[in-house]
């Protein structure tokens, strides 16, 4: 960071992307989405609407899902970023990625990296007891109530990720399978 006193139009930002430390020099207007794709060559992250409406650019920043198209790289110095490549590789898919394959949770695949990142973080939110819009009023006011991950809950919590092919039914199934398998094995969400 080299802008302690006045403003700057270019700066250097350090990120840890999928476990690898990176430093990039960039125009301050560059979003995290463009930094990942155009500066660092991380092309699993997709540009859909570029307005925060479709979720195709979803990544994890310090463990939380965000839309990278509305995240300014300049503000993220020191952040840890995880994309679909960071969850698993073609030779070694994560359980969630494998479930998307097993359940045909995609057709064209353009939204899939965002779906997978979003689902990964969503399952962690559920494990942390975070409520949703479809959580019953009685459970909302009782923070000790565990979230039961019904299909309705999955659909509501994943509504920020659009799929123009309409693979939603199978996406829900893939997430349901993953949640059940992780619960069965006691694996971390």
């Amino acid at each position: 960071m080299d802008h302690a006193v006045g403003g700057t139009s270019h700066l250097s930002t350090k990120l840890v992307v999928n476990g690898h430390p990176q430093e990039l020099r960039h125009d301050v207007r560059v979003t995290l989405l463009d930094a990942l794709r155009d500066h660092l060559g991380v092309t699993s992250v997709k540009k859909g609407c570029d307005h925060g409406q479709c979720g195709a650019c979803t990544v994890l920043v310090d463990g939380r899902r965000v839309v990278s198209c509305l995240s300014l790289t300049a503000s993220l110095d020191g952040a840890e970023v995880v994309t679909a490549e960071g969850l698993g590789t073609p030779d070694e898919l994560s359980d969630l990625q494998q479930a998307f394959v097993d359940r045909d949770g995609l057709q064209c695949g353009y939204c899939t990296p965002g779906q997978v990142c979003s689902a990964q973080a969503m399952l962690a939110e559920v494990a942390a007891g975070m409520p949703s819009h479809v959580t019953e009023p009685g459970a909302l006011t009782d923070p000790d109530t565990a979230v039961e991950l019904t299909d309705e809950e999955i659909r509501e919590r994943m509504s920020g990720n659009l799929c123009r092919c309409g693979a939603y039914v199978n996406i829900v199934a893939a997430i349901r399978d993953t949640a059940a398998r992780r619960a069965g094995t006691g694996a971390q969400p």
């Binding site: 403003g7 207007r29 939380r64 899902r65 509305l70 300014l72 009023p137 994943m158 509504s159």
Partner: protein, 333 residues
């Protein structure tokens, strides 16, 4: 995006100092918090700035208890964290519910409380640079008055603007006793929530009463304790991830079959989050029945001035308000 410079504020005072310095130079500034609205607007050209002052790293994220059951929420607390916070869920469930009804999981992780209050209308003409809009380009005219009126306001409109405030959170806050704490060049200022947002009048470009350099630092919600029984209901064109056509935030206290106290906030009806004071007044001390609730919202709707496309909002409110109050009544019984 038009070029701007970026700088990171190290404290509230530092942010204000930077803004004052820019102002002396004739430069425009914008504060960056969650960025979910601002970054989009900078890219679209709805907003331009010379200097972007990043306040998102300031330490204003705490949720703390006030006396008599109130809560103070830091302006930079993220929507997702506040909605899930045990104190907020137990004390003011309507606040959690309203935030959970808004946006998506990703956006709630980013958006801040202060930014939520300052988000701008989703009027389609405001966001379409090819059409006139008095809010975006003062004096250019209002495209929504004669155009697509489906989402237009019902109450408090003017010849200049018929846009509605888009926030869910603000509808809940309108129903509660809320103070917005801001810091400016002259120090701290405390604003009643009802006085933060304004009706459009002939200055629709101004959404709020904040001065240019002022920075929201906290939101304080005081009792009443009866807000522990409160709900939010949002009507929209799809089940999730859409702005409201209308929404209702309500808190109710019933004693011996009578309405001891009631609060009603309405969304999607006005340029500012609307508190249904007329309906509340009709209800206090009267019977806690569905019929009384229906009569009260009918009184509130007497001031509505729907156009050809948005009369359905009156119908929605006349159904939704009694439904929410009846649900709260059953909860009490």
């Amino acid at each position: 995006m038009r070029p701007f410079t970026y700088e990171r504020a190290t404290s509230v005072a530092d942010a204000l100092r930077r803004t004052a310095g820019a102002s002396r130079e004739g430069e425009r500034t914008a504060y960056l918090a969650g960025g979910t609205n601002l970054i989009d607007h900078l890219r679209l050209g709805i907003r331009e700035t010379d200097r972007l002052i990043d306040v998102s790293h300031l330490d204003l994220t705490e949720v703390t208890e006030l006396e008599e059951g109130g809560l103070r929420i830091g302006a930079l607390a993220r929507n997702a964290d506040v909605a899930a916070h045990p104190l907020v869920r137990r004390t003011f469930p309507v606040v959690s519910a309203a935030m959970l009804a808004g946006a998506s999981g990703q956006l709630r992780n980013m958006a801040t409380m202060g930014g939520n209050l300052l988000q701008r209308t989703r009027c389609v003409y405001f966001q379409d640079l090819s059409t006139p809009c008095n809010k975006r380009d003062p004096g250019s005219g209002c495209s929504a008055i004669e155009g697509l009126g489906t989402y237009n306001a019902l109450i408090g409109t003017s010849d200049s603007c018929v846009a509605v405030h888009p926030s869910d959170l603000c509808v809940a806050l309108a129903a509660l006793d809320v103070t917005v704490v801001v810091e400016g060049p002259l120090g701290e200022r405390r604003i009643d929530f009802a006085d933060l947002h304004r009706l459009p009048g002939d200055r629709p470009e101004r959404d709020t009463t904040l001065e240019r350099s002022e920075l929201i630092t906290a939101i304080e919600i005081a009792g009443p304790g009866f807000a522990r029984r409160s709900r939010y209901r949002k009507l929209r064109e799809r089940a999730s991830y859409a702005f409201a056509t209308v929404s209702v935030a309500a808190a109710l206290e019933v004693r011996d079959g009578q309405v001891a106290d009631v609060r009603i906030g309405l969304g999607g009806v006005s340029h500012k989050p609307h508190r249904a004071l007329r309906a509340e007044e009709v209800l206090r001390g009267g019977p806690a029945t569905h019929e009384a609730y229906a009569a009260a919202i009918a009184v509130e709707m007497e001031q509505a001035r729907p156009g050809p496309d948005n009369g359905y909002k009156v119908t929605q409110l006349r159904r939704a308000v009694p439904a929410v109050l009846s649900a709260l009544t059953e909860e009490t019984a």
